[in-house]
Every structure is written in structure tokens, then in C-alpha cells.
Symmetry: C2
DNA sequence: GCATGAATTGAAAACGATTTGGCTAACGAG
DNA sequence: CTCGTTAGCCAAATCGTTTTCAATTCATGC
């Protein structure tokens, strides 16, 4: 059923029907009602591609996905959907190429030129992220989930990674721990830097020098959590507490602690960052995991919302949001054992 | 840069340029080369929306996403991307509505009519899944990841859930276990039924009656894994082995076993299904987890491939694939303890 | 030297909507 | 009774491609 045909059935012109459906003011309320009603009855729906061609709007928001199958991603997208479904806006997944490669840049360029999306949401930027510069130069509305120091205006939403880790570390210090290890994310991303800054600043404020041997970086996997924690704990001067970057890392850390016959929360205190997953909760771990917490799903919803605002013309400069992070103390942290 | 303008720069007609770029045979090799080269140099790219309108092809495949943020999803999509990126086909995420609701049906209807996707990939169908009937009726190419008994032709790719669980259960029986519990997925989905069938048939073949009290169903979460396993093990006649539906369930089961002072692989044997995640591996659990294994990522890649075939006109009837599932024995399974 | 067919190329008509710029009728005001 | 204004509607142009149909060129065989 096309507009022309539908209009004929109604005894109206395509113009009027189009206007009625798009809510323009110059059509009488009574006609509008009739058109709307008949559209439902006859099942008329404007052809998206025609609308897109004519208006230049894509009706879709692109979200960049890492190729490693990050477990955060589904949760973030589910959050996006919450906001975007009622808006009738599509979610387009943009698989990342190698970020260091020129291909990645080429990919964005093509994406923008092809007008398949009205805005882009990207994750885990680096302090000097060429993608941001490019998207800005191309004039594509985009929202950064995370932050960048790059000298280009960009909208962003981030959590207070630095503050979160600082508080977590400070809490461990309060408990008497002085040798505190840290398992961070892949080096390069701003969030990893911020976390390290938070960690260091907490130590410094107590006059403790950070031991480079107690800092490790890598993907947020159970395996690396285990390997790093084992390596820390097998040192001659092992840490008494570990700050881990994710729930998966924490699983590995727990395992490492246990594997050495030690007890989490007693011999070794553990704090991790929890993005709040429906399938794995810090509360349910044994012992329950003290964690810095921030909902990935909520971030997805809000990012989608902000992207919509960008599309509607809000200036990127007005969109800069830092979310506070909760610190939830549970059983995995305890006073240092002498 | 539009086609018209680009063509003029080349001193050719839009027709020829279009043909050259789309690889039609009636344009000379030399012109084609020139056009291709200049297109890169001048940065001409056809407007996707115009192409879509004209050709009726959307250049995108839709994939249905549950709203619960299933952890499998990112992995599956990463797999899809592997196949779809080189094909220059977009991935559109279709958030699911309530499947029992009419809204879900309405959603598909609109999706199809709006011509936003050329094919749809859906997951976890039920034996009698109205969505399949609808998509078939609407004439939309679609691929089912999983299976359905519905009497409507549909293309599908599934793993051998029944065989996997049968073998897993049989292996436990071989080890002398006779009281074997099972933690299944949400009731209703075909895969859950198949798994239960596999479980029951293994028991029956040894003349053992399935105890309904040893079968539980629910989302694949750590929490439910724990709760179900606890409930099982606290019975007066506890099972000596547990078959779990996912890695997350297995985490919960491990926790439950430990919480009762029991030992996985010694007091209680555990087998789970492993979709192979980069961030959590059965091999690394402690004790390492015996598992039925099938790569979710590979499934995503293959599903994307099959969807492309459907688009190219291959009959759904020719696309029916069952993947065998590996059974990998590790430390979490051992002979029954008397 | 000419008809024939193959090899290339173009002009123009779609695709299905939105939107600009009229047009008509009705209503008050003068 | 006319004129200006407004509400409501419509015709036609447009978005940027693809594709049908027709035209042109060119070599080939006679």
C-alpha cells in the first residue's frame, strides 16, 4: 500500500495525507483523525527508505561494537533499546575495525557519507582519539561513552572512574592495607588512565608510593584476573588487597586467592567494578563482593537519550555528564591481617 | 558529491557510472577501471537511501535481541559481524517486545512492511512459535537460530541440544551417578525441551525414572544456578551430579556446592553447557568444568551466512543445519562417591 | 561498400515519500 | 457587497539512485 493509493482511497491528495500523518498544522483536526484511523485500518505505513531519501534522516543511531564480544555490550544495548524503541529509532551495530588501522577511519568516513545513521555512540575512547576528531570534522552528531582529552568539542557521558577507584583504594587503606594491587583494563583507554589516577592519588594522599609491580592491565577476563592475581600473590611481598576492573576479573581474582589456600576478605581483600549484570551479581558471590557500582544499562538508556538530543540540535558542548559511582561494601573487604 | 555531478566530471552519463560501479557487464573494462579509480579519488559514494529506495533492498539484516541483556548476545553478534562486514551489510538490532503480547507481532509486521531489513535472525523459538508463522506469511526471509516444530517452512541452524545433554547425562551415569539433577533454561523454548528430552532419554535408557524434583528451569543466571543447586543438595535425597544449562548457571552451582562444604568433582559432579566466551572459560574454572561446548560466535557467523543465502534466493527448506556439540571432560566430573 | 550484430553508452522513467508554492472556499470586517 | 485573511487542500517538483529502452559506434562478413 503506497501513499498514492492510500490517499486515493481516502479521497485526499498525497500531500494532505502525508501532512496529516506527520502532524503538520495545516490539516484539519477532523481529517487528521480520519487519516490516522484509516491508516491503521488499511495498514498503510510510509516506506522508510523513501522517507529517508527525501528527508535525509536515517531514523537510526549507530553504536560501535568491539569485535571481542565484550560482555558489557548486550547490557548497554538493552538500555539503549529502552529509550529508542518508543522513539521508533533503529539501532545499527557498527563493528569496529582495528582502531589503530586506517581502516577504522575509512569505516567512519563511509558510514557518515552513506547517511545510514543520524548519530553515533562510541565507547572507551582514548585521551587523544582520532575517531573523535574525524567524526567532528565530518559533522556527524556523536556521543562518547567515556571521555577524551582531545581538543575537539564532543558530547560525552562518563562515570567517575577516578573517584570510584580512589574511594575503593582509600577504603582499603582505611582498613590498614598498604600493599594494594590493581588490575586495570587495556592500557590506552581514558577510563583506564582515570582509574589508575584514582588509585595513585589515594595512595599518594597517604604517603604511599605506588609499586609498578602491583599494577597490571589487560582485557577484562576471568583468565587475566586469575593470572594477574596469582602473579601478585606469589611475590615475596604480596599485596593484601586487590582492586579489580570488572566482575569477570573479580571471578579470576577470587579463584587465584582460593587456589593459594587464602581467603577472600580475610587474607586478601578484593574490590571490583560492577556494571550490574542480570546474570552475575556481586551480592551473590562468595564471599559477597565489595564493589564500585554503576549500571551499564542505565548508561545505555541515557546515552541513547543524549544522542537523540544531539540529533535535535542540542550543542555537544552542553552534553557532558559525569555519573557518580556507588561504593558498596560487602564481605570481600576486611581489615588487613598482620 | 552526487552521481550526476560525479558523472559529469567524468564526462560520462549517470547510467554508465552506475553500471560501472555495480559491476554490470555492458560497460567496458577500461571505463570501469577509470570510474572506480575516480570514485575513490573524488570520494564518490552512492547514497544508500536512494539505492535502497530504488532497489528495494535494505542492505541490512535484523537480529532480534531479548530485553534481558543476555550475555550470549554480544558474542553472537560479533560472529555475525565477521561475515557481514566484508559483505557491507548492516546489522540492525531488533529489541524484542513481550513475546506473548500482540505487540511483538505488530512489531514484526511493521518491521517487514517498512523494508528496513532484508532478512531477520531470531533466537530461542518455541515449538509452536507464532513469530515464525507470521514472518513466513509476510514473505520475509528469516533464519531461526534454534528450532521449531511449527508446520511452516523455515530456515534454521541449531545445535544438537538433545544429543549434548544426553551424552552429558550418559557420561554421569557411566560414572555411577544415578541421582542427576538438571538446571534448564526458561521453559517454553524448544532448546529447553530438547535438553530435557536428552536428559530423560539418557536416564530411561538406563532404566532410571526422572525425578521431577531434580529438574529446575529459569534464566541462565548465577543466582538461579545457586538457588536451584542449593535446593537440590539440601534435599534428603540429594543428587550426586548436576547438569547445568550455561556457564553462569555453573558458577552458581559451584558456589552452592562449596557453600555446603562439598567439593565439585568429588562430592558433586557438574557438567554445564559452554557457549565459549572470551571472558570466562570452562577450562579456567576451579575445578575445571566439564562441559558440552559449541561456539556461539561461530553460530553467529554461520547464521549471518545463511541469512545472506536466503536473501539470494536459496529456499528456506534447504537451510536446516544441526551442529554437533562437543563434550569436554574436565575435573568437575568424577565417579560417584558412596 | 554495406548490412549485421556485438559492444558501449545515454535519456528518461521509475522508486515512494516530503514539501514548496499555489489554489479555493469560507469568514469577518469595512 | 467587496476585499483581505485564513483554513484546508492539492499539483508538481524533488531526493539520488537504478534500469528499461533506444541510440550510437565499431568491427566483421559478404
Amino acid at each position: 500500500m503506497k501513499l498514492k493509493e492510500f490517499a486515493k482511497q481516502l479521497g485526499l491528495s498525497p500531500t494532505t495525507v502525508s501532512r496529516a500523518l506527520s502532524g503538520y498544522p495545516e490539516v484539519s483536526e477532523i481529517t487528521r483523525a480520519r487519516v490516522a484511523e484509516e491508516a491503521v485500518r488499511l495498514g498503510y505505513r510510509p516506506n522508510v527508505n523513501a522517507v529517508r531519501l527525501k528527508t535525509g534522516r536515517a531514523g537510526a543511531i549507530g553504536v560501535v561494537m568491539g569485535r571481542a564480544g565484550e560482555f558489557h555490550f548486550a547490557e548497554f544495548m538493552a538500555g539503549m533499546a529502552e529509550r529508542l524503541v518508543p522513539e521508533d529509532t533503529d539501532i545499527l551495530v557498527i563493528p569496529m575495525a582495528d582502531p589503530d588501522d586506517d581502516k577504522e577511519m575509512e569505516l567512519y568516513r563511509r558510514l557518515v557519507e552513506s547517511q545510514r545513521v543520524d548519530a553515533i555512540i562510541m565507547h572507551s575512547p582514548r585521551p587523544d582519539d582520532a575517531r573523535i576528531a574525524l567524526l567532528h570534522a565530518l559533522g556527524m552528531p556523536f556521543l562518547v561513552h567515556g571521555r577524551s582529552d582531545i581538543d575537539v568539542p564532543h558530547a560525552w557521558l562518563d562515570i567517575d572512574n577516578e573517584g570510584a577507584v580512589r574511594r575503593a583504594t582509600a577504603h582499603l587503606l582505611d582498613l590498614g592495607h598498604t600493599r594494594i594491587a590493581m588490575i586495570n583494563g587495556r592500557p590506552g583507554a581514558t577510563y583506564a588512565l582515570h582509574r589508575e589516577t584514582g588509585y595513585r592519588s589515594a595512595l599518594v594522599s597517604r604517603g604511599i608510593a605506588a609499586d609498578p609491580g602491583l599494577i597490571a592491565s589487560g582485557n577484562f577476563t576471568d583468565e587475566l584476573g586469575f593470572r594477574f592475581a596469582r602473579a601478585f600473590l606469589e611475590r615475596s611481598d604480596p599485596p593484601t588487597a586487590i582492586v579489580a576492573g570488572s566482575m569477570m576479573s573479580a571471578l579470576g581474582v577470587y579463584r587465584a586467592v582460593r587456589s593459594l589456600g587464602l581467603q577472600v576478605g580475610v587474607d586478601v581483600s578484593v574490590i571490583a567494578h560492577d556494571d550490574v549484570f542480570p546474570y552475575l551479581s556481586a551480592d551473590n558471590m562468595a564471599p559477597s563482593l565489595s564493589a564500585t557500582r554503576s549500571s551499564m544499562r542505565a548508561a545505555g538508556t541515557r546515552c541513547a537519550d543524549l544522542a537523540l538530543q544531539l540529533i535535535r540540535g542540542v550543542s555537544p558542548l552542553e552534553i557532558q555528564e559525569v555519573w557518580p559511582v556507588e561504593l558498596i561494601l560487602r564481605e570481600s573487604t576486611g581489615p588487613v591481617r598482620r
